[in-house]
Amino acid sequence: MDVAFLFDLLLAALIVWLGWRALTSESLFRAIVLFVAFGLAMGLAWVRLDAIDVALAEVAVSAGLTGALLLAAFGGVQRSGDDDDEP
């Protein structure tokens, strides 16, 4: 088992774990932060998959801007009280 494969395995696991945490975290703020981290991990994965173009787009648009949008929206949520009313 070579190092590259191990790295891929770890990265894939990390991505799934981050995705899972981002969706199940109790606090919405933490969920969004986890989502941004998830986006950065995705960027790494794109690089591993020889998709530099996608990696750049992911980091700039997906992780960056989507994260910013979510955080901006979260600011609104916060002021209005909690939004973590998951059953």
């Binding site: 530099i52 750049l56 801007l65 949008l69 929206a73 002021r79 009313d85």
Partner: protein
């Protein structure tokens, strides 16, 4: 509905959805693993035709030449989403409250750097990884930083200049496409000699539009935050 009942129902829903999703996962994983190992796809065809496209980077060639029509529609999607957001936009944009010195100084250094990076990505997109979307995304991110740092000038872009910047990308695509149709070629078929130039022009225009649209989306969300008046609501409506 009483509370215990509701809890039971919720638990049931969670259990059911977990089960269903597990089944979906099993099916999809099985399908995926059974895919043939030999590569399929258009990689070879793209490589073969690459010289005539005016772009050395195959991804750019696909995005702006082979499947340029998808990109045209995609920019339309962006613009449309922004128009939709505008119809819902209420309230005024308030200046950001005390951004903090760190953020401010960080932004003042970072923004120019990002501008340069964006310019590089745009320019290099023809041959190396990069292109309109990446450049546009980074430009927009730079704008977001500036806004967060309290700088007012991203908001100053308004009125006609803003509108022109928004439609620039889509109009450029349409103009190029229509021009070649009127010249007797198929829509979006660039003449081989001028393809590189055309792609560069399209990329520049698209970058401007994408950056401005993304930034304006962000500003609109900030605005929406300011206009909110009441407590949370749920999407579960009859």
């Amino acid at each position: 509905m009483t509370n215990p009942e509701r809890d039971t129902l919720a638990r049931l829903a969670r259990f059911g959805s977990t089960l269903a999703v597990a089944l979906v996962f099993a099916g999809l994983a099985f399908a995926m693993l059974s895919l043939p190992a030999e590569p399929t796809g258009l990689a070879a065809a793209v490589r073969a035709e690459l010289p005539g496209t005016g772009a050395a980077n195959p991804v750019t060639a696909v995005l702006l030449n082979f499947r340029g029509y998808d990109t045209l529609l995609e920019i339309a999607v962006l613009l449309l989403a922004l128009l939709a957001i505008w119809t819902m936009r209420r309230g005024q944009l308030r200046p950001q409250r005390d951004p903090g010195d760190v953020l401010e100084s960080l932004a003042s250094i970072q923004a120019p750097v990002m501008l340069v990076v964006a310019g590089y990505l745009l320019w290099a997109g023809g041959s190396a990884p990069g292109g309109a979307f990446q450049a546009g995304g980074i430009l927009a991110a730079a704008g977001v930083m500036l806004v967060l740092a309290g700088s007012g000038w991203p908001q100053r872009l308004s009125g006609w200049p803003l509108r022109v910047a928004l439609v620039l990308g889509l109009s450029a695509f349409i103009c190029v496409g229509v021009a070649v149709v009127l010249g007797g070629q198929e829509f979006l078929a660039y003449p081989a000699s001028g393809a590189a130039t055309i792609i560069l022009v399209l990329e520049i225009c698209a970058t401007v539009s994408i950056a401005v649209i993304l930034l304006d989306m962000f500003l609109s969300v900030l605005r929406g935050r300011a206009s909110r008046t009441d407590t949370t609501a749920s999407i579960d409506q009859p």
